[in-house]
């Protein structure tokens, strides 16, 4: 009888145990998420706001970009070579590469980027004429 009671308790506890196990399994990912820095960027009048910020080397940054303009924009993060490539490139959409995302009018998009090296990086929009118009910014990656 006692054994039967113990089994009943164990069966009642099983879902809880499974849930706890799942939580434990996911803990590392959740911890990683807690280490991610989020930077909100607003696009207005074909400008990034803010257009300059500093991050630490090794940081994982989630950029959340809101386009308040009625025209298409994009957020491209990288060095000068990356910016040059996109300025002459023909990719209509971005999103699969970390640090590169298209932001349609009135929409919010995000991209996550790991800053592995210290130094200066650039952000820019390479829709026709936008980079020349001044739609660009700077990211200073500081040593730890």
């Amino acid at each position: 009888m006692k054994t039967f009671a113990s089994m009943a308790v164990a069966m009642r506890m099983a879902p809880i145990a499974v849930t706890m196990l799942l939580i434990w399994t996911l803990l590392p990912a959740a911890g990683h998420e807690r280490g991610t820095q989020t930077i909100q960027i607003t696009i207005r009048h074909s400008r990034f706001i803010p257009a300059r910020f500093t991050v630490r080397r090794g940081a994982t940054v989630r950029f959340v970009i809101t386009n308040t303009d009625p025209i298409d924009h994009e957020f491209i993060l990288g060095d000068e070579a990356v910016q040059r490539r996109h300025e002459t490139g023909t990719e209509p959409e971005h999103g699969s590469v970390p640090g590169e995302v298209s932001v349609p009018p009135g929409m919010t998009a995000e991209t996550t980027y790991v800053f592995s090296r210290a130094g200066l990086l650039l952000i820019g929009c390479h829709a026709p004429g936008h980079y020349a118009y001044g739609m660009r910014g700077e990211v200073w990656v500081a040593q730890r």
Partner: protein
């Protein structure tokens, strides 16, 4: 009597903008990538509280569709085909040597309301009421490709007047209609409005900062108008004299121009030759001497300058001599 007439607002302001090729081309679309809408010429007239706004689109060949967005100071009550020679006649009056230069060489609302739609020759005209963002969104959804400065410029104008005219020029339809290269389609808008202003900043839309914007602005008034800015880097008064009887007779004889007085007007010509980055203002016109920085689109009002302007205008207002 003259004061009475002036106080009653029996005033006419005739404004002509003969613009550089990209004038008012907020959004140019063309499947072949070519920009064939080479020149847009605009005329705005003010008389008895009504502005008559005439703009002409010149067909330059090619195919596809091309568009233009023009900010308006108010809601038009009528949109119709304009007369054929009004613009050219005014240019010839003050710039006889430049007549040949007319050749190609030479805040915000969430929604947008379509006030009026009409088709004139190969032009599809839509009058819109909305904030800058909403009008920009409408333009994008209707095939206009807006340059990067369009959001700021549309917001600038929407804060002044939420009324815009979107014009779509169908080059294929123009060719089917038998229009030849260089043929213009004048559009005449009748706009009741308290204070006229001439959109100048729109001339720089889509241009690089260092690009030069060249335009000619003509004003025809029955008194010397107060302007703001009067003189500014890149803006100068080229001509100021009584309008000839011949000019007025010719203008009155054009289609839809019968509203123009037969006499009693003063002709002013202002030339714009400005870097695009410096053309951040409009031209305020007021025959009562109240043209101000704010009316010209400057964001900060300087009351003492406005007072100076009023004083100067009162002291220098002249009647034309050729009555």
């Amino acid at each position: 009597m003259r004061r009475l007439i002036r106080s009653l607002g029996l005033t006419l302001v005739l404004l002509v903008v003969v613009a550089s090729p990209v004038f008012a081309c907020a959004g140019l679309i063309g499947p072949n990538g070519a920009v064939n809408l080479v020149r847009t010429t605009t005329l705005a007239a003010y008389h008895n509280g009504v502005e008559h706004y005439i703009t002409a689109f010149s067909f330059q060949g090619g195919g596809g569709q091309f568009g233009s967005i023009v900010p308006l100071p108010g809601i038009p009550t009528r949109v119709e085909r304009g007369g054929d020679w009004t613009l050219q006649r005014l240019v010839r009056e003050t710039q006889p040597l430049r007549a040949a230069v007319l050749s190609p060489e030479a805040a915000a609302k969430d929604g947008v309301r379509v006030i009026l739609e009409t088709k004139i020759d190969a032009l599809e005209i839509t009058i819109l009421d909305g904030g800058g963002t909403a009008v920009g969104r409408w333009a994008r959804e209707h095939g206009f490709i807006l340059p990067p400065d369009a959001p700021e410029v549309l917001d600038f104008y929407a804060a002044r007047s939420p009324i815009f005219m979107a014009a779509r020029f169908d080059a294929d339809a123009a060719r089917q209609r038998g229009q030849q290269i260089g043929d213009g389609t004048p559009i005449h808008l009748t706009i009741p409005v308290a204070n006229p202003w001439v959109p100048l900043r729109i001339l720089a839309l889509g241009k690089n900062a260092g690009d030069v914007v060249r335009a000619d602005v003509y004003l025809l008034t029955d008194v010397t108008p107060a302007l703001w800015p009067r003189v500014r880097r890149g803006l100068s008064v080229q001509y100021s004299a009584a309008a000839s009887a011949e000019l007025l007779r010719d203008l009155r004889s054009d289609k839809g121009m019968g509203w123009m007085p037969a006499r009693g007007m003063w002709l002013t010509h202002l030339a714009i030759n400005s870097a695009a980055k410096d053309l951040t203002y409009d031209l305020a016109v007021d025959v009562s001497g109240r043209a101000t920085r704010v009316a010209a689109g400057f964001s900060v009002a300087l009351p003492f300058l406005a007072l100076l302007l009023v004083g100067a205008s009162t002291g220098t207002t002249r009647r034309r001599s050729a009555r």
